[in-house]
């Protein structure tokens, strides 16, 4: 790989394409080119997908990785930082979403981003002493942490007698994941919202280390339970790239069936929960009813209600027979008819429209500046859908239709879920009609060669990627990345013109992952 010392942008010839399903360009840079590469990416209309760190041998040096997405494909930029330097230039001014990733990177590896004025801990709470960096070698040996709560996190508060604060969480009123929200309000109007996450931090990245790639697949499927198919596929894609293994076409098609069914199930669940948050229980019952039928069919046909462990490195762990395919086709058609009926009915419901339209709005220009993507991004006019722009097998042949809306409010995210549900039903129908014959998995050798690769898929919430590096048939470093990293800061802005009572609705319309973010 090329090392670049000059402060000019590396020319195309110096980028190296790594073996991976999507077109990933990889380059190692030095500090001066780090910032200019990020600037060039932004100026071309690209986005930052993720930023993560890796400790080198005996903590003598560190790799700082950034993954960007431009019009020509993925750019994986790696900066080497010596431990004597201990810092790297921040990208937070170029990509706002980088700020929290840099804070998390410091908490885990101890390398500070210079230029990022926010130096508060992000994933680290008080039970875990400052100066301990779990992803460094040998830092955890013989050490055990306490369970102290996060009592004195310095929130950025508005100092005025007219402003009151509402602390919410980490234990919420509903059945949702833990996180803390600090509202500063004047009357009912939200003046500022600040999130405090990290409550579900489970040390997943550390747990990956030293596992073999097969044990890693099970863990990858449990990073965020609602996106298990997405993570398992992204992870498996990375493993297959390293093993130089091509999966059979039938396996690829069946994976896509899993991914689309996961999208359908989650969209139905979100429509139910949004209805409930708007005080419309009819809506909740109707959508939960269809979702439950889908989950039961999953259990009967795929063996798991949420499709956990269905996608494995090399292929899939199940197969479909013609009777099962016929059942799936018949049922999805009937669900589609029911959802269409509800769609028409709810579009006319003035009480519901009153809550949804204009609430939690992010205009397209702002969405672009914040680097939004995924379902929430498409609802704010950001045309990113990997199944359309960088399709991998089997999506090249499916002609996926990207669903877009320029409105950017809760109603747009609500409506987009209907449209993506219909599209997923269409894709599933198509996939099952053209299901290729043959094996459902290829063999991954136990002695997998050393290497690093990237797996990336468009899961229901947005693009999920897994960056994997393998050494001596063991996982050396695995970084799973959720689209929630980019979208959580957007939520802080989306609530600004609304009242506190609208927050649950706006939050639900994004439905971001805590577990996938806190890792």
């Amino acid at each position: 790989m090329t090392e670049l010392g000059s402060d000019t942008l590396p020319s195309v010839g110096q980028w190296q394409q790594i073996l991976s399903a999507p077109p990933v360009w990889r380059v190692k840079v030095q500090a001066a080119s780090w910032t200019s590469a990020a600037l060039a990416l932004r100026d071309q209309g690209g986005r930052l997908l993720g930023l993560w760190g890796e400790a080198g041998h005996e903590n003598a040096f560190f790799y700082i990785h950034a993954l960007g997405l431009g019009s020509t494909g993925y750019l994986w930029i790696t900066l080497t930082v010596q431990s004597s330097e201990g810092q790297f230039p921040s990208l937070a001014d170029i990509f706002p979403a980088a700020s929290r990733m840099e804070r998390a990177l410091y908490d885990l590896t101890g390398i500070r981003a210079t230029g990022n004025t926010d130096t508060r801990p992000w994933l680290r709470h008080q039970c875990w002493p400052a100066g301990i960096f779990p992803l460094r070698e040998g830092q955890l040996d013989g050490r055990s942490f306490g369970v102290d709560g996060d009592a004195d996190y310095p929130f950025q508060l508005i100092d005025s007698v007219d402003v009151h604060q509402i602390p919410v969480g980490p234990v919420h009123a509903g059945t949702i994941e833990p996180g803390h929200f600090r509202f500063s309000c004047i009357g009912e109007q939200i003046l500022r919202l600040e999130e405090r996450l990290g409550y579900t931090h489970k040390g997943v990245e550390r747990l990956f280390q030293d596992r073999d790639v097969f044990a890693g697949a099970r863990l990858a499927g449990r990073i965020s339970g609602d996106t298990t198919a997405g993570y398992a596929w992204a992870y498996s894609m990375a493993v297959e790239s390293i093993a130089r293994c091509e999966i059979p076409p039938r396996a690829a098609a069946l994976r896509a069936v899993c991914l689309e069914r996961e999208r359908m199930a989650n969209h139905l669940g979100d429509l139910a929960a949004l209805g409930n948050d708007a005080g419309f229980v009819f809506c909740q019952s109707q959508f939960l009813f269809i979702k439950e039928n889908l989950l039961r069919e999953n259990r009967e046909i795929f063996g798991h209600r949420y499709l956990m462990d269905c996608i494995i490195p090399g292929g899939v762990a199940f197969d479909l027979n013609s009777a099962q395919i016929a059942t799936m086709q018949r049922n999805s058609e009937s669900w589609q008819r029911t959802v269409q009926r509800l769609d028409l009915l709810l579009q006319e419901h003035s009480g519901l429209r009153d809550r949804l339209v204009g609430t939690g709005k992010i205009a397209p220009a702002r969405a672009a500046a914040l680097g939004m993507a995924g379902l929430a991004g498409r609802a704010s006019g950001q045309a990113w859908d990997l199944r359309v722009q960088f399709p991998h097998a089997p999506y090249q042949n499916l002609d996926v239709s990207m669903q877009l809306s320029p409105e950017g409010d809760v109603a747009a995210r609500w409506q987009l879920r209907f449209r993506e549900f219909y599209e997923s039903v269409r894709l599933q129908t198509q996939l099952l009609l053209d299901l290729p014959g043959g094996d459902v998995s290829a063999t991954i050798p136990e002695s997998i060669p050393d290497g690093e690769a990237l797996g990336i898929v468009e899961a229901w919430r947005g693009e999920v990627f897994v960056a994997l590096s393998v050494e001596n048939a063991r996982i050396k470093r695995c970084h799973p990345h959720d689209p929630s990293w980019v979208l959580w800061p957007v939520l802080e802005e989306a609530v600004l013109n609304d009242i506190v009572a609208d927050f649950p609705l706006i939050n639900k319309s994004f439905n971001l992952s805590y577990s996938g973010h806190d890792l």
Partner: protein, 158 residues
């Protein structure tokens, strides 16, 4: 009769008799449940949400999910008790009035599951709170969760 047949046709449950929480335990006719996610991957939450759907009729068996620990009889815990949630979990339990019981839902809450041994998790819920019932599974089905809750609610001794 027509309604029963229609229910079976709609829900696919062939006339299974649902055991209710109504018993001689401390909660008598009903138990209110507070749920705390102590670092779960959110699959257990999806199943708990499914419990409130029309297929399961949680309230029919005398159980309901409550928004405040002050109103709760049962504490339903999911996840491998991440260190960052341990204090909040204990605070939630202390805020509940007596008599009260804790139910561990899912493999992670029962044993630490796939996350056991990580620097950031405590492990099974019983390391932090006294557990009266466990429901293993990754995630456990809504039916299994409902059954465990009913059993614990009917226990006579805490």
């Amino acid at each position: 009769m027509y309604r029963i047949l229609k229910e079976i046709w709609r829900l696919g449950i062939p006339g299974k008799k649902i055991i209710s929480a109504k018993g001689q335990g401390p909660f008598r006719r009903s138990a209110a449940i507070r749920h705390v996610d102590a670092g779960s991957c959110n699959a257990c939450e999806l199943e708990i949400q499914a419990l409130s759907g029309p297929h399961y009729g949680l309230e029919q068996v005398g159980l309901n999910l409550t928004a405040s620990p002050r109103h709760a009889d049962l504490l339903m815990v999911t996840g491998p008790v991440s260190r960052h949630m341990a204090t909040a979990l204990q605070d939630t339990f202390s805020a509940m009035p007596n008599p009260k019981k804790v139910v561990a839902i899912g493999d992670c809450a029962c044993t630490g599951g796939i996350f056991a041994g990580s620097y950031a998790v405590v492990g099974a819920v019983e390391k932090v709170l006294p557990v009266a019932g466990q429901c293993p599974g990754c995630p456990p089905t809504p039916e299994a969760i409902r059954q465990t809750l009913v059993q614990v609610a009917r226990q006579t001794r805490s």
